[in-house]
Amino acid sequence: MTQRSVTHAGFTIERVYDASPARVFKAFADPAAKRRWFAEGEGWEIEMFETDFRVGGFERSRFRFQGGGPITNDTIFQNIVPNERIIIAYWMTIDGNPISASQATMEFRKEGAGTRLVFTEQGAYLDGYDNVGQREAGTRELLEALDKELTRQQAA
């Protein structure tokens, strides 16, 4: 039987993007754009990515990394202030085991011609399957992928 444990922790990442708050926000709100930077990537097989971007709407992703076990991410949109703020609650499993339940706040602040994104996660990491260090590292990779998406849009 799994030894039950909960570790509560959090982190904040700030990142400046060379794009307006409206454009950074849109990369979260537009399902096709979000899929590109959030779900797709080398080594990732996406089995499902569905998003319903409105308060109370769900986003469900099912994927595997390099042929590994199934990973799930279920997200609910808790608060949306266009171009300013998104708050989500999300929970993840690997191989059917819950690994985390989290809340994340994304604030989009105008900075010069660009945007400072402040990402704050408050998490409960479960039963030794995940920890805040790994989650922060994974989130930094996603926010890097978002930068590439914004740069790609600029070039297109």
Binding site: W91, P98, T105, T120, A124
Partner: protein
């Protein structure tokens, strides 16, 4: 309108109850029992209550003083381990203002014949409408009401 802000804060409340973890857990899980203790001040009367207690299921409590501000709580369940753990995300509204979005973890551990319950809230308090101190006092009041419900059950059994 208040300027937009999000204040992140966490608090933990520990409680010992003279009831087994299964009975304390049930007071959270059973849609008949939970509204007996999970409610606002008595003078508000009975609010509207709904609970779909499963992962991904939702919960809703609306109430308030007669003719006054509507206090709305809505939640979605993220993790349930029977008799051991519940994690949910919830938000609070006063009328149409969203004042907070929080993650709540409740852990149940056997302690002798009773239960040590640990309640952890990780909250985002929004746009200056609420703060962690007020929320902690409100949560203490609810857990007092849970204690009285468990005592009532013990007297009646």
């Amino acid at each position: 309108m208040n300027p937009r802000s999000a204040t992140h804060a966490t608090f933990v409340i520990e409680r010992s109850y003279d009831a087994a973890p299964s009975r304390v857990f049930r007071a959270w899980a059973d849609p008949q029992i939970k509204p007996r203790w999970f409610h606002g001040p008595e003078e508000w009367g009975h609010g509207q209550y709904e609970l779909d207690f499963r992962v991904g299921g939702r919960e809703r409590l609306a109430g308030g003083p007669k003719g006054g501000t509507v206090h709305l709580y809505t939640a979605v369940y993220q993790d349930i381990v029977p008799n051991e753990r519940i994690i949910l995300a919830y938000d609070m509204h006063l009328d149409d203002r969203r004042i907070s979005v929080s993650l709540m973890t409740v852990e149940f551990k056997a302690a002798g014949a009773g239960t040590l319950m640990t309640f952890t809230e990780q909250g985002a308090f929004l746009d200056g409408w609420d703060d962690a101190g007020g929320r902690e006092r409100g949560s203490v009041g609810l857990l007092d009401q849970l204690g009285r419900e468990l005592e009532r059950q013990a007297r009646e059994s």
